[in-house]
């Protein structure tokens, strides 16, 4: 075991400054400073560093190295997610919202599903937000190509498919629903079903084992971990530095000769901009989500959800018509136990048969919009309530999944809707789901795909950044995460976030190179 080296094992001396170990104030200078090391930040940092610029990355969370990964969810979530995985969207209901807070950001604990932005979404951005000349498939495609090459995007292999995924494909096929294996960032997935508590073999090509170490090892970038950026210093309409605080309590000032890229995510970016003095009427508005919820089913035969790619099969058959996407998701026991109905003997009886449980999910392309702000303690606050038409879409998706489970021979199905029996025992009972309540509090959503709140657009009154990702009215300050997305994609966002971020960084690098040459 000790001779196995992972990509995050060996970093050049001085490339990583651990904010927990910093003992005095730090003052440093780079061409570019990147805030956040998740999907957006790591992609931008890599492009800038590869183009020959000096790059400093600042990341609020620590670096979980592959060899330290454990299988339990609690360890991963308590140390490497924001607010120990207990953040919520607040509205009529409380929806858990999960975000990574570590090197790699949410890519450490995500399922590695790669989806190019759907063309109709890009067209809509062009038509409604005037972005067509700048954001279009012609501009984005080369970046998708590069990402897929670098991060080994491929469909789930036969030997990592597993029954939970295979059964979904078979049942979708039976109903004439188009479905396919997920395409994922995968360099040799072993099907451990552990993506949500981080990949123990570095097969999942998350940012902490790819672009971050590559930017450091190949192109001389530096990363400051466990260092929270408090503000971007803007002097005379120009971003000139990033002011952070290390976990050990010392100030870290990184001067940016050419500019600052903010990639702190949809929720943290708007608040960081606000703390930095950006005053845009659109800041914090138009937050959107792509919330998901799972349906479980118990089978007589073995499913062994613990084997197979965590999320290995999907269908976008209803993305446009009904606004939902269907997916498989294998829950580890720690999460499954909370979703399984009951308490006491009934609960543990089912837990003991987890090897016979399948779990599938729906992601709703919700229309609802919310706001991002700060609460009394300075904590991030997202206000958001799903609308009635979003719940109608949810109900349809859950009912369809329940029917597919019964098609597959489920003995019981757990729809997870308050007001509908927690255990359905026959397909006839699924009509109770069709007629389920329209109250968002009846549904157990979880939000991991987040958009908006620093929207892109041409009009500074209704958007925060322009079509080149630059904050309106501030030079050398770019936002490159999904807070700039004008709308919900209806598909998993990481790939589009990275392509957009690469596009922004490549444009800025090009211009900066031109200036350097001149």
């Amino acid at each position: 075991m000790s001779d196995v080296r992972f990509p995050d094992d060996d970093m050049p001396a001085g490339a990583v400054v651990d904010g927990e170990a910093v003992t005095r104030a730090v003052d440093d200078a780079f061409d570019f400073v990147v805030v956040g090391s998740g999907a957006a930040g790591a992609s931008a940092a890599y492009v800038l560093a590869e183009a020959g610029f000096s790059v400093g990355i600042v990341e609020e969370g620590p670096w979980l190295k592959t060899r330290d990964i454990t299988e339990d969810v609690h360890t991963a979530f308590s140390k490497y997610t924001r607010e120990s995985g207990m953040q919520v969207l607040r509205g009529r209901s409380f929806v858990p919202m999960i975000q990574g807070r570590c090197v790699g950001g949410s890519t450490l604990i995500n399922s590695a599903i790669a989806w190019r932005i759907p063309e109709d979404v890009v067209d809509d951005w062009g038509a409604r937000f005037g972005l067509g000349d700048s954001i279009n498939m012609r501009e984005l495609d080369p970046h998708f190509d590069a990402l897929e090459r670098d991060l080994s995007v491929r469909p789930v292999a036969d030997d990592a498919l597993g029954e939970n995924n295979a059964m979904f494909l078979a049942m979708a096929n039976k109903r004439g629903i188009s479905a396919s294996r997920m395409r994922r960032y995968d360099r040799g997935c072993k099907g451990s079903g552990m993506c949500l508590s981080a990949c123990p073999t570095a097969a999942k090509q998350g940012m902490s084992v790819t672009y971050v170490p590559w930017a450091l090892a190949r192109h001389g970038a530096r990363i400051f971990t466990s260092a929270r950026v408090e503000r971007v210093e803007i002097r005379g309409h120009r971003a000139v530095a990033v002011v952070a605080k290390s976990a050990s309590g010392h100030p870290i000032v990184l001067r940016a000769r050419r500019g600052v890229f903010v990639a702190a995510s949809t929720v943290q970016t708007p608040n960081l901009l606000r703390r930095s003095g950006v005053r845009s009427p659109a800041l914090g508005k138009h937050f959107q989500a792509h919330p998901g919820l799972a349906v479980g089913g118990m089978f007589k035969r073995s499913i062994e959800m613990s084997f197979g790619a965590t999320q290995g099969a999907e269908s976008i058959h209803y993305r446009k018509s009904e606004r939902f996407k269907l997916e498989t998701i294998s829950f580890p026991p720690d999460i499954a136990a909370a979703r399984i109905p009951g308490a006491g003997p009934e609960l543990v009886e089912r837990l003991a048969r987890l090897g016979h449980v399948a779990s599938w999910a729906a992601q709703i392309r919700a229309r609802a919009e919310g706001t991002v702000g700060e609460g009394w303690s300075g904590a991030d606050r997202v206000k958001y309530t799903l609308g009635e038409d979003d719940i109608r879409a949810t109900r349809k998706a859950v009912a369809l999944l329940a029917r597919m489970m019964f098609d597959a021979g489920a003995q019981e199905v757990w729809p997870g809707i308050f007001g509908v029996p927690s255990v359905l025992r026959s397909v006839d009972q699924v009509k109770l789901v069709d007629e389920g309540p329209l109250d968002p509090r009846a549904y157990a959503f979880i939000a991991t795909h987040l958009f908006g709140a620093a929207r892109m657009g041409v009009d500074p009154r209704t958007s925060v950044v322009d079509a080149d990702f630059r904050v309106h009215g501030v030079d050398d300050l770019w936002v490159v995460d999904s807070s700039v997305f004008p709308t919900n994609l209806g598909v998993n966002p990481q790939h589009s976030i990275m392509a957009m971020s690469r596009l922004a960084a490549a444009r800025v690098a090009e211009r900066a190179k031109g200036l350097r040459a001149a």
Partner: protein, 187 residues
């Protein structure tokens, strides 16, 4: 974190509730319940480690669970004073409460216990290994498959790591895969 650690009576409530949710054999077909894993201590540490607002939520959850016999059973006692079967009844009623905050907070309490219960590697393996057992509605003992009949696929970390030697490439090497992204199209 501004809140004080759990008092001994709160620890007793948490213990009583968790032992009812994840009971010991013979009320549990798994080889052990949560009791041996000191769930109350875990809950206390959890509260100490999360931001104040979340800590408050966890504490309120515990108090709701603890005082539930008053409003569920109309009995002047806490959860710790009930028999295990009564505790389960109370908890199930809370989980199905028509008051959103009550059922959500109770679900949160149950979920925190799950984090502790499933931390144990051997128990995870027991849960995820398929059994030749009857469905939950059938009664009778849970039968393990005969030796060798079950293909155990629980995480064997050493094996996974050993078989991941493809990952031993240096950090600055990029793999050769060129997967074209076509994406399934809508129908």
């Amino acid at each position: 974190m501004l809140l004080p650690r759990l008092f001994s009576f709160e620890l007793a409530w948490a213990e009583a509730a968790y032992v009812a949710i994840y009971p010991d054999p013979p009320r549990n077909p798994l080889s052990r319940g949560i009791r041996a894993m000191k769930p109350a201590r875990f809950y206390d540490e959890l509260i100490a480690g999360v931001p104040t607002e979340q800590a408050l939520g966890l504490r309120v959850s515990l108090w709701i669970v603890a005082l539930a016999p008053l409003f569920v059973l109309r009995r002047l006692c806490t959860i710790a004073a009930l028999s295990e079967a009564e505790r389960v009844t109370v908890l199930e009623r809370l989980l199905a409460s028509s008051v959103y905050a009550v059922r959500q907070l109770t679900l949160g309490f149950k979920a925190m216990g799950a984090l502790r219960y499933a931390q144990d590697h051997a128990l995870r393996a027991e849960m995820t290994t398929p059994r030749l057992a009857p469905a939950p509605e059938d009664s009778g003992p849970v039968l393990k498959e005969p030796e060798g009949a079950v293909h155990l696929r629980v995480l064997d970390r050493a094996k996974l790591m050993a078989s991941s030697s493809g990952q031993t490439r240096a950090a600055n090497e990029v793999g050769p895969d060129h997967a074209a992204a076509e994406g399934a199209s809508d129908v």
